[in-house]
């Protein structure tokens, strides 16, 4: 079952690479934000894959289970707890970014990063 873990790792690396690619090369700001959120998903997938145990069971102790058998067969639950937090943080970050984009769209009328988030130091320094 090592193939499963390998495939999962490949998929998470692919997601991270897609995210990094979109951060540099995609101009539309909403698509850029979508792309960057894939980095977060890839990292989450990776961390869950750490806790996975091939042929194991879900780390919930049901009544009637043998404790020693459970301890040697259950998946490692600590990474799952971390990912839960991370998912929620990612969603809230995405929401704040989209809200800022909506405000900025009203000012610029375009979604292009080159226009919206260009260098502003010259305009504001000497506006007369």
């Amino acid at each position: 079952m090592a193939q499963t873990q390998l495939a999962i790792l490949m998929a998470s690396v692919a997601l991270i690479v897609i995210g990094v690619y979109s951060a540099i090369f995609i101009d539309n700001i909403i698509k850029k934000i979508i792309g960057i959120s894939f980095i977060e998903e890839g990292v989450n997938l990776f961390i869950v894959a750490i806790g996975y145990k091939a042929g194991g069971v879900v780390p919930i102790l049901m009544p009637g289970m043998d404790t020693t058998w459970f301890a040697s067969n259950a998946a490692y639950p600590l990474p799952f707890g971390l990912v839960l937090t991370s998912i929620v943080i990612g969603a809230s970050t995405l929401a704040v970014m989209l809200a800022l984009v909506m405000v900025l769209y009203r000012r610029y009328g375009t979604l292009s990063t080159k226009v919206m988030l260009a260098d502003t130091s010259k305009q504001e320094e000497y506006n007369e």
Partner: protein, 77 residues
Amino acid sequence: MLEFVLCIIMVLSAILALIQKDLLKAAILTGFSGGALAVLFQILLAPDVALTQAIVGAAIVPVFIALAVKKTQRSDD
């Protein structure tokens, strides 16, 4: 076997979302990617994470993006 299919679905829909011209389609494809990830979490023995990811990744995030698209513009040019 299922996990390979899900990995491919997830990565493919991520790529497809980024090459769409229509941003609403991109939002829906993001939901596909998040949903596939949720099922993948279930296969990886993390049902609690899968539940959260199913709600957040497959429902809330696409809705957020769709709302943002509705308030701004739909086509990417």
